[in-house]
């Protein structure tokens, strides 16, 4: 898991849900979007990877919707 204080983080879906849960306690959070890539970002951790999109949509999104609501 990346440094929680850093601008960029590499997270598993479960870690991402925990992180968002923490953010949602501090600010009113309605929508979050995941950045596609950055310079020197490996392809397997960028959104240009199909697997990344699958994890976001099929694992993180259901958990997040269940915890916070639609």
């Amino acid at each position: 898991m990346g440094d929680a204080g850093a601008f960029f983080m590499v997270l598993t879906p479960g870690e991402a849900a925990d992180f968002l849960r923490g953010v949602a306690t501090r600010i009113p959070l309605e929508e979050t979007s995941s950045g596609a890539a950055s310079r020197a970002c490996p392809r397997n951790v960028s959104i240009s990877s199909k697997r990344h999109v699958e994890l976001l949509c099929t694992e993180l999104r259901p958990v997040w919707s269940r915890d916070v609501g639609p």
Binding site: E31, G35, I47, L60
Partner: protein, 266 residues
């Protein structure tokens, strides 16, 4: 709670070009994301970068809309000056390929190209959000009110970035953002400064970048703008990113870097 994708269309490897294949691959990925249930697709606008990005998010958004069914489509910051220029060219009648009656689409909603029947002139659509509202008031145009989705942000936010420099813009200074529908209109809104501050908008930055690219002269104004941008965003971001690694913190952008062809990290 919604989860979306923010896509900048950046090329990570040189092998991703040519552009048609590059953008086509993104369209396919977006289509798959829409099928899997992503809530939104966000696009950005960038210019003068060698590693791709997206120069015209509205055109790409239209392409995305033809291939997706439920995801909302939005843009990040867009260059108001560029869009205003396109609108002015359309209004001048010099090139009106999309306003010819024979070229109009035959779909249910033609709001960008036609007036809304049954609505007073002062309520006629001037922008997407107001078009939707006007559409909802019009019984004779009820089909449009059923056209999903409604705008995420209503009214649409327009922000102009104005760079302020305490010493006339030569050294780059603190950056402030002003809500301004048109960049030139921001100039009279700026407060007077004891040191004789100078305001510059995106138009000057783009012009300076074009002159620099054409090799006419190294632009100190572009250097100042980029330096101010880096201080307020770029350097901070990259410095945070390099924290805890062996990567050096990149130096501020300066004219000598530009003459060497390196404009710094975006």
């Amino acid at each position: 709670m919604r989860i979306g994708l923010y896509l900048d269309m950046r090329i990570l490897r040189s092998g991703d070009a040519p552009w048609a294949r590059h953008y086509g691959r993104w369209i396919e990925l977006i289509e798959e994301a829409d099928r899997l249930g992503t809530d939104s697709i966000w696009l950005s606008e960038h210019h003068f970068f060698e590693d791709g990005y997206l120069a015209h998010p509205l055109v790409f958004a239209a392409a995305v809309a033809t291939r997706t069914k439920r995801a909302r489509i939005g843009t990040a910051v867009m260059f108001a000056g560029v869009e205003a220029g396109r609108a002015a060219r359309r209004g001048s009648g010099a090139r009106r390929p999309y306003q010819r009656r024979s070229a109009r689409p035959r779909g249910r909603c033609r709001l960008p190209l036609t007036r809304v029947r049954g609505v007073r002139r002062r309520h006629q659509p001037a922008a997407t959000s107001s078009s939707k509202r006007a559409c909802g008031r019009s019984a004779s145009f009820g089909a449009c009110a059923r056209s999903p989705p409604a705008p995420v942000q209503d009214p649409l936010p327009w922000w102009g970035r104005v760079l302020l420099s305490p010493r006339g813009g030569a050294d780059g200074g603190p950056s402030r953002e002003w809500p301004a529908a048109a960049i030139p209109r921001a100039r009279p809104l700026l407060p007077r400064r004891p040191g004789g501050g100078r305001a510059s908008g995106l138009r000057g930055t783009v012009r300076a970048a074009l002159e620099h690219r054409a090799g006419r002269r190294p632009s100190s104004r572009l250097a100042a703008d980029l330096r101010a941008y880096s201080r307020t965003r770029g350097i901070r971001t990259v410095a945070t990113w390099s924290k805890g690694t062996d990567r050096p913190v990149p130096p501020p952008v300066d004219p000598s870097m530009m003459r060497a062809g390196r404009l710094g990290d975006g």
